[in-house]
Amino acid sequence: MLAVYKKELRSYLTSMVGYVFIAFILLILGIYFTAYNLQYASPDFGVTLSSVTFLFLIITPILTMRILAEEKKNRTDQLLLTAPVPVWKVVLGKYLSMVTIYAIPVVISAFYPLIMGKYGVISYPMAYVAVIGFFFLGCAQIAVGLFLSSVTESQVIAAVLTFGILFCSYMMDGIESFFSDTAVSSMVAFLVIAIVIGIVVYQLTKNIIFSSCVGGVLVIGVAAVYFIKPTIFTGLIQKFLNLFAIANHFDNFVGGIFDVTGIVYMLSVVCIFVFLTVQCIQKRRWS
């Protein structure tokens, strides 16, 4: 694991990618910091961080697109997968190297509140809680990018997919408002999701009986819950979609609240996507 970690770290720091990534974060963050905190003299660093969360839409693909797609394209994955190292260690090494690169600008940004403190009174706990939240937010999105890099051989496709999915996650508040919050419409949306899950299971297993059973059980379950207690469904689709809005879980940190559920959420996103990445690589070996 350490070998992969060191190798990736070196490759980020000997090529342009790592520096472009770090410089881009610092540039955008610097502009917002100057505008909000220095010019406008706002004592709230969290607001600055929360207004640059759109950054991740651009920088995450830059960082993650090559991490696994390139290995597959150059056939260097043959070296990694035939070495006496389990797949999860390879994936984790790669993920941690990206997190380390991402930590560099975050650590630099941790000096900004000190600069502000020179010229006025600010709340350091509030500022640093926001920085910690910002760090975890980035870690979660990098995990998404890691997974999407493992599904394709092409860096461009990996980058576009990452951008698309992170964009949907970023715009989830808007997407939620497409649905009305009545119980009926919510139930219908869940029925559609149940059927989609059935189709996905069929695509993965090619077993029509199993997949229709899964789809059927979910559809019946949703319908049954609706007939027993329809009020559960009121606004449920919004709550469900909100799970996918990664950046929304950063809001509490901005306000200076050390939100443990937020951290648990981000770490779960990391675990799920690292796990999916490992599974995706394993699946390719079996098919």
Partner: protein, 323 residues
């Protein structure tokens, strides 16, 4: 050392490897021979644990590659068809990374890398970026990587493809010297290469094992097909008549010759008789000098045809025996 039992790999409906069964013994050089797409690389990828088999099992020194991947993979060094090289690393960096990946203990790493580089003659290149190396050197870096940690089994997928003749000879000599300490499996679609280097040859066609024997025995099979190439000075009709007098000739095929006033022939002789002397005397009587006479080198395709036909015949005989 390696046991392959009932190995099957399916890609959708396509069967790439079809019930392979063989054992590899310690300290020998094995050659996988087959045309492109015969399933050589797929089999090697399965032995090294890069891809999983659909059916069957592979045991490396008693360890199943899928159940105990770490133990089994430690015993294998693998050079795939395309060497898995990171273009932006120097040779030294790459080998250090590979050594660390193979969890060679820290204190041995340095020494090991040095030895491997001297075996593959890479010392002068150690500070060069891999992307600036020639194909031959890239192949050597790949080979050096496979040798790191001196695994018991070394698997090489078409190690000489794309190299110039001098490099091919160097790599072959290297493989021969490796065979003294390690078990080596290499694949190739060149018959002469496999028979020159290997102690044992496995011929694969369309995913099936067609033959498994020593090169000596296989060459006996091949000479059984008696065929000669001749260049004779003189008129075609005269030569044909003269050759017609010789017994055991099945077929005479005429080709136009590069040499002026001469004719080329391919002659097929039935049975295992050596008819070269008879042909010489027959042609000397009509005063047609033989400029060239040599046994036809069997191409791989012909070997396959021969082997598959033989197998067909054997099965027929067994069927008759049952009746």
């Amino acid at each position: 050392m390696i046991e392959v039992r009932n190995l099957v790999k399916k890609y959708g409906d396509h069967i790439a490897v079809d019930h392979l069964d063989f054992t590899v013994e310690k300290g020998k050089i094995y050659g996988f021979l087959g045309p492109n797409g015969a399933g050589k690389s797929t089999t090697m990828n399965m032995i090294t644990g890069y891809i999983a088999s659909t059916e069957g099992e592979i045991l490396i020194d008693g360890h199943n590659i899928l159940d105990e991947p770490e133990v089994a993979k430690k015993k294998i060094g693998y050079l795939p068809e395309i060497p898995p090289l990171y273009q932006d690393m120097t040779v030294m960096e790459y080998l250090k990374f590979a050594a660390e990946l193979k969890s060679i203990p820290k204190e041995e790493r340095e020494k090991n890398i040095k030895e491997v580089m001297s075996t593959t003659k890479l010392e002068d290149m150690k500070k060069r970026l891999i992307k600036n190396l020639s194909k031959g050197y890239k192949q050597r870096v790949g080979l050096a990587q496979a040798l790191l940690g001196y695994p018991e089994v070394i698997i090489l997928d078409e190690p000489t493809v794309g190299l110039d003749p001098k490099q091919i000879i160097e790599i072959r000599d290297l493989i021969k010297s490796l065979g003294k300490k390690h078990t080596v499996i290499l694949s190739s679609h060149i018959l002469s290469e496999v028979s020159a280097v290997c102690d044992h040859v496995l011929i694969i066609d369309r995913g099936k094992l067609v033959a498994s024997d020593t090169p000596e025995n296989l060459s006996k099979v091949m000479t059984g097909m008696n065929s000669l190439e001749l260049t004779v000075k003189g008129e075609e009709a005269v030569i044909r008549d003269a050759l017609g007098m010789v017994e055991n000739i099945e077929d005479i095929a005429y080709h136009s010759s590069m040499t002026e006033g001469a004719c080329d022939f391919t002659i097929k002789i039935s049975g295992d008789m050596d008819m070269r002397e008879n042909i010489f005397f027959a042609l000397s009587e009509v005063k047609c000098p033989i400029l060239r006479m040599q046994p036809t080198n069997m191409s791989l395709e012909e070997v396959f045809l021969k082997l598959t036909n033989d197998e067909g015949r054997l099965e027929d005989k067994e069927m008759e025996g049952e009746k």
